[in-house]
């Protein structure tokens, strides 16, 4: 039975997102397009980068020239001039450095900023289907870590790579000029160094990923252990959990140790390489300098020594940049993937704005499937006359909420037509239609902020007076007044400072504020205390009055007072009528009703 290793928590084997992908010109081009609004900055940056790649070797060359010339010759005045020259060059280098850094950072931030705006605006265009099928974490990482990786790609990879390769090239030229024979040796060492780097970086990035995965196991286990602590204690599992956790923590430490051991081999190898180079330089360089047959000077040797550093360090850096480029590429692909996700549908160009609505809603042979092949609604036909309340009842999964989703135009029917005021809903502009709509979801979702802000969410420009009127109309002024800060009470994350009943009332007020012609209400199934329940029922009656309403009902009172009850089962309407009619029917409704009563 249990082929899974004992542990407190198993991490979901989610399709993991790829970490890197090969360079792709299409993606690079598209990224570059985002720098176009900042073309001036980008051009300056390019110029600066070229200048900078010349400056760094030039500084080293100045030092080498000073040593070779005046210092060795014992010319004190020459030394002074050399210092002055060096300082002048240094100042200009640092000024360039300032612009190089600032422009790159600003360019990166601008691109990130624009990308984020575009992503968010696109998200607002996408419809329910996307939100249901996409995990929140994914969306957030598009806007955060992925965009950050794109930033590094834009602001670092290209420009740093240019500076570094320029520097390498310049250093190579200088070395060639100082001593061509030694340069050949350096050239021989370069691939070795690059190879070592490449080999270990790959191992490292694998090891880093292993650490991340193991760390998410640790945090997932921690989160569950703490959220489930009451269960753990009630069942006396503390010692066993602690033991399992120790294994996990040790396992995690093992991955860190693995990284350390890779570093422990890579870094000494890099050191070795440069020390090896020094030894060769001494031996070979010394031989060439000391050999009178060869025209080589000590000053050149020292210059060569200085340049070698400038030649080798970009090798490591370019390796890092390459890895980063691949990561940025993968991130950019994901970001663009989201931007390219088309909305489920677009309003047809002929779609009209709706200035006013009577509120007649009709379903004509509507069928719907979320996934092809699994019908959620089958051939539903119904008419809700203006002002009528339609109660939807049935088992979990019978399609009640789907009916309301189609009314709200969160989805389009797979076949059949949803009509409002005798016009196909597809022909209405979605946004315009939703302005006439009031929606109350089952969990009474609130945004963090005050009660007032939440009520006003549906119509941000409503005055305090209007909000008060609405609350008065719902007859629940006293409920809000009794809150610690009245209307200014912070509702907390997802409304956690308010009770379930209070949250529902806020949602009612929020809906009523727009005076919607059509209402959709998914009643909460959990019970609230009796006093609040009475408030809610009273308010509900006010809310439903004179509006066409679709209610996924969990309250007997709502059901009994509905003008029309639709009993759904497996996506079909099995019974319809009023409460009294249906009770007399001896059918599915009667059975449900008795179960509701707890009989």
């Amino acid at each position: 039975m249990s082929n899974v290793a004992p542990s407190i928590t198993h991490l979901a084997k989610d399709e993991r997102e790829i970490h890197q992908r090969p360079l792709d010109w299409k993606i690079i081009n598209r990224l570059l397009r985002y720098t176009r609004p900042y073309a001036a900055r980008r051009t300056w940056l390019l110029v600066i980068v070229v200048v900078r790649s010349l400056q760094l070797p030039a500084l080293a060359a100045t030092i080498a020239a000073a040593i070779k010339g005046p210092i060795q010759a014992g010319n004190s005045a020459g030394v002074t001039w050399a210092v002055v020259g060096f300082l002048a060059l240094a100042v200009s280098t640092q000024i360039v450095a300032h612009f190089r850094q600032r422009l790159a950072l600003e360019l990166g931030e601008s691109v990130v900023h624009d990308l984020r705006n575009e992503l968010f605006a696109h998200l607002q265009r996408l419809q329910m289907k996307f939100y249901v099928s996409t995990k929140l974490g994914r969306i957030i990482s598009r806007l955060t870590s992925d965009v950050e990786n794109v930033r590094v790609g834009v602001q670092e990879v290209m420009f740093v790579a240019m500076v570094q390769s320029g520097q390498m090239l310049m250093a190579a030229l200088f070395m060639l000029w100082y001593d061509w024979a030694l340069f050949l040796v350096v050239l021989g060492l370069a691939p070795v160094l690059a190879g070592i780097n490449h080999y270990f970086r790959r191992k490292l990035s694998k090891a880093h990923r292993a650490v991340q995965e193991s760390f998410s196991r640790v945090t997932a286990t921690l989160a569950e252990s703490i959220n489930g602590i009451r269960t753990t204690q009630a069942y006396g599992r503390q010692a066993r959990n602690a033991e399992l956790f120790r294994d996990l923590a040790e396992d995690h430490a093992g991955y860190h140790y693995e990284i350390a051991s890779i570093h422990g081999r890579l870094l000494p190898l890099l050191d070795m390489n440069s020390h090896f180079f020094i030894a060769i330089l001494l031996l070979l360089g010394g031989f060439r300098v000391l050999n009178p047959a060869i025209d080589a000077s000590l000053g050149d040797l020292i210059g060569f020594f200085l340049m070698a550093g400038l030649f080798f360090s970009p090798l490591t850096m370019l390796g890092l940049l390459y890895t980063q480029a691949l990561t940025s590429m993968a991130a950019a692909e994901r970001v663009f993937g989201l931007l390219d996700t088309p909305p489920d549908w677009d309003d047809p160009p002929t779609a009209i704005d709706v200035p006013s609505v009577c509120g007649r809603v009709e379903f004509r042979n509507v069928s719907f499937e979320y996934l092809p092949g699994t019908q959620v609604l089958q051939n539903i036909s119904l008419v809700a006359k203006p002002g009528q309340t339609v109660a939807l009842v049935g088992h979990t999964g019978s399609g009640k909420t789907t009916v309301t989703n189609l009314v709200a135009k969160f989805y389009l029917p797979t076949s059949g037509v949803v009509m409002v005021d005798d016009r196909d809903l597809v022909q209405w502009k979605t946004k315009s239609w939703q302005q006439h709509l009031g929606i109350m979801v089952q969990h009474s979702f609130l945004f963090s902020g005050t009660v007032m802000e939440n009520i006003r969410f549906s119509r941000p420009r409503a005055s305090d007076r209007e909000v008060h009127d609405v609350v008065e109309q719902l007859n629940c002024m006293d409920v809000f007044r009794r809150l610690p800060d009245g209307f200014q009470t912070q509702v907390g994350e997802r409304g956690s400072n308010l009770s379930l009943g209070q949250r529902q009332l806020v949602c009612f007020a929020r809906s009523l504020l727009t005076d919607p012609k059509v209402l959709i209400l998914d009643e909460a199934s959990s019970s609230v205390d009796t006093l609040t329940e009475m408030h809610i029922q009273q308010a509900l009656r006010q809310l439903l009055k004179g509006r066409t309403s679709f209610v996924v009902a969990h309250r007997l009172s709502t059901i009994r007072e509905a003008d029309q009850i639709l009993v759904l089962d497996e996506g079909q309407i099995v019974e319809r009528g009023t409460h009294t009619e249906l009770l007399a029917n001896q059918g599915a409704y009667r059975e449900l009703y008795h179960r509701f009563q707890g009989g």
Partner: protein, 605 residues
């Protein structure tokens, strides 16, 4: 702080090892540099006999019989040999440093985790869970940083600066001072900069977090946003917080791009001093070229790297102290509910429960329970009824000592539960909560959570009793399905039935059910109540419920109003009396939709 030092002391031998290794590394590195310098000087000497004789180590001159090339080869060989030694030592040092860090982390993590396992419920009521998670996940790093990133590192930096300075001074004192003159400036600048920039970064973080929170809410409340047609307003809001971030970032960018080149300039200034003053000295023949000038250039670079470390250490002290405080808070929290030193044992008990004058308050000014007295015979089932907030759940949680009463005592089979070992007590009592927490593990592992030694057969039977087998067998991997994994989202009713199976597998004489149908659809409610009926056999059962059908089927009913027992007796009896139970009956029979005034009357009774 003292405790942190104590922690360092705990790992002293490993710390010492790391320290010695690092200092050896610095010294060997210096030796390599020295020998390279000697090599250069030797070449120069051979080229230009007027230059200084290279300063041979310990005054040992190479025998005159050796040719120049042989001497150079020897020097090169020494450099290579030292380099190999350096590399080997470095590998070893990296590994011991990592081992030190990981040992501390594992120790601390496990210590904090273990502590959390035993802390009482009230601790978790008061502390936000994500902050607790962070202490085990993140804050322990901060504590570790104090050991290896602050204490050990500080000593290393200090000693290597001393070694570098000593080496440089041994070659030329004045030049050393001249080159290091800007160091204090470098130092102050770096520290001041990091003090200035840190709050700015925090501010960015804050703004980013705010933006993410907004997006999270936007996505979670997408139906509301769309339903209210507020997309435009939301886009505008997002734009603003996005601009907000950019402004803050630009502030930071400006400062960074001023600071870093300035620091770079200071380093260049040092080099210029070296070039000028050192060059002058070499020209005057007062300083060797290799051991002096070239070696100085390298050393200056390493010196400024170490100075940079000082700023990092200064920053780390702050974060590690803050983190340590949060970790120690957990480690120091008192465990409120403990087993007695000499616990008494229950012989396999029958399950009678008695409350004697129990009162309880979460905080002193607001009593939740007062003067509760009742006793239950073994095997009886009791329904606990009352309005929200009357103390029903609290009453239940006193039985397994999830909380200790403020006054009075709870007896099981005549023994005060505070005289029992906690583990034994909790094995005697199993509990199903309002909303059951299941772990992301297999269904089987969840059922066997309280009894990991249970056989497969026992697990199956518990599931069957809890009426969970039908839906479990329909899951993709049956009992091996991992809960919460893609496509396996159980409904509230299914979760509760697994929780009931979990409680049944404990096979304990007392079963507590805290409104197990609170969070499920009315349709699934009766399935759960059926499972409860099965579970009641041969057990003392407490059931918090609103359902008349369930109340009717229990032996006794206890009505709690405002923390006091209002009614207690068999259900038929109480239903005859005028009281809460009757009003509940009338409300449910009349159906909550009845005329409002009547109902209000009914509830006020």
């Amino acid at each position: 702080m003292r405790r942190l030092l104590g922690l360092v002391w705990e790992y002293r031998s490993r710390c010492l090892l790391v320290l010695v290794q690092q200092l050896l590394l610095v010294s060997i590195g210096l030796a390599i540099l020295g020998f390279s310098g000697i090599g250069i000087d030797f070449i120069r000497f051979r080229l230009d006999p007027t230059a200084n004789d290279p300063s041979w180590l310990f005054g040992i001159h190479p025998p005159a019989s050796l040719s120049d090339m042989a001497i150079l080869a020897t020097i090169a060989a020494v450099v290579l040999g030292l380099a190999i030694l350096h590399a080997a030592l470095r590998l070893w040092a990296t590994l011991s440093a990592s081992r030190l860090a990981q040992t501390i982390i594992v120790d601390l993590r496990v210590r904090v985790y273990e502590k959390l396992q035993w802390l009482g419920f009230s601790y978790f009521d008061q502390n936000n869970s994500s902050s607790l998670i962070n202490r085990v996940a993140g804050d322990v790093y901060a504590v570790r940083t104090f050991v290896d990133g602050v204490m050990v590192e500080m000593i290393i930096v200090f000693l290597s600066l001393v070694i570098y300075t000593a080496y440089m001074a041994s070659i030329h004192v004045m030049l050393t001072f001249a080159c290091l003159a800007t160091t204090p400036l470098l130092w102050t600048l770096a520290i001041r900069f990091s003090r200035m920039i840190r709050p700015m970064y925090l501010e960015t973080r804050e703004r980013m977090d705010q933006m993410v929170r907004d997006v999270v809410e936007n996505v979670q409340g997408v139906a509301v946003v769309k339903g209210c047609a507020q997309q435009k307003a939301q886009i505008e809001k997002f734009r603003q917080s996005n601009n907000h971030i950019r402004e803050q970032q630009h502030e930071i960018f400006w400062r960074i791009s001023m600071f870093q080149p300035t620091m770079g300039m200071l380093t260049h200034l040092n080099r210029a001093v070296l070039l000028g003053f050192g060059g002058y000295l070499v020209a005057q023949g007062q300083l060797p070229l290799g051991v002096g000038l070239v070696a100085f250039a390298r050393l200056l670079q390493q010196f400024s790297e170490q100075v940079g470390q000082v700023t990092n250490i200064a920053n780390r002290i702050q974060t590690s102290l803050a983190g340590a405080e949060r970790v120690f808070q957990v480690l120091d929290a008192p465990i409120e509910i403990r087993s007695p030193a000499q616990p008494r044992h229950l012989i396999r008990s029958c399950g009678s429960v008695a409350f004697e004058g129990i009162s309880f308050a979460y905080n002193q000014d607001r009593p939740v329970l007062e003067g509760i007295d009742f006793s239950i015979e073994p095997g009886q089932s009791v329904s606990i009824v009352g309005p929200t907030g009357s103390g029903k759940s609290t009453l239940l949680s006193l039985i397994p000592r999830l909380y200790d009463p403020t006054g009075g005592r709870v007896l099981i089979d005549g023994t005060d539960i505070r005289e029992l070992h906690i583990d034994e007590l909790r094995r005697h009592v199993s509990m199903v909560f309002q909303e059951s927490f299941l772990f992301s593990n297999t269904v089987a592992a969840n059922i066997a959570f309280g009894n990991p030694q249970a056989t497969q057969q026992q697990t199956f039977e518990a599931a069957k009793l809890a009426a969970a087998t039908p839906f479990i067998t329909r899951l993709s991997d049956g009992f091996d399905t991992i809960i919460g994994e893609h496509g396996c989202d159980l409904s509230g009713g299914e979760r509760q039935r697994i929780a009931i199976a979990r409680a049944l597998l404990m096979n304990s004489p007392i079963l507590l059910l805290d409104d197990p149908t609170a969070a499920v659809d009315p349709e699934t409610e009766h399935e759960i109540l059926q499972a409860v009926d099965e579970a009641k056999h041969n057990r003392t059962t407490f059931l918090v419920t609103h359902r008349l059908s369930a109340i009717r089927r229990s032996d006794l009913v206890l009505v709690l109003l405002d923390g006091q027992v209002a009614q207690f007796g068999p259900p038929e009896e109480l239903l005859d009396q005028d009281g809460y139970l009757r009003s509940l009956l009338s409300a449910q029979v009349e159906d909550l939709g009845g005329p409002l005034d009547e109902r209000r009357l009914a509830f006020q009774n």
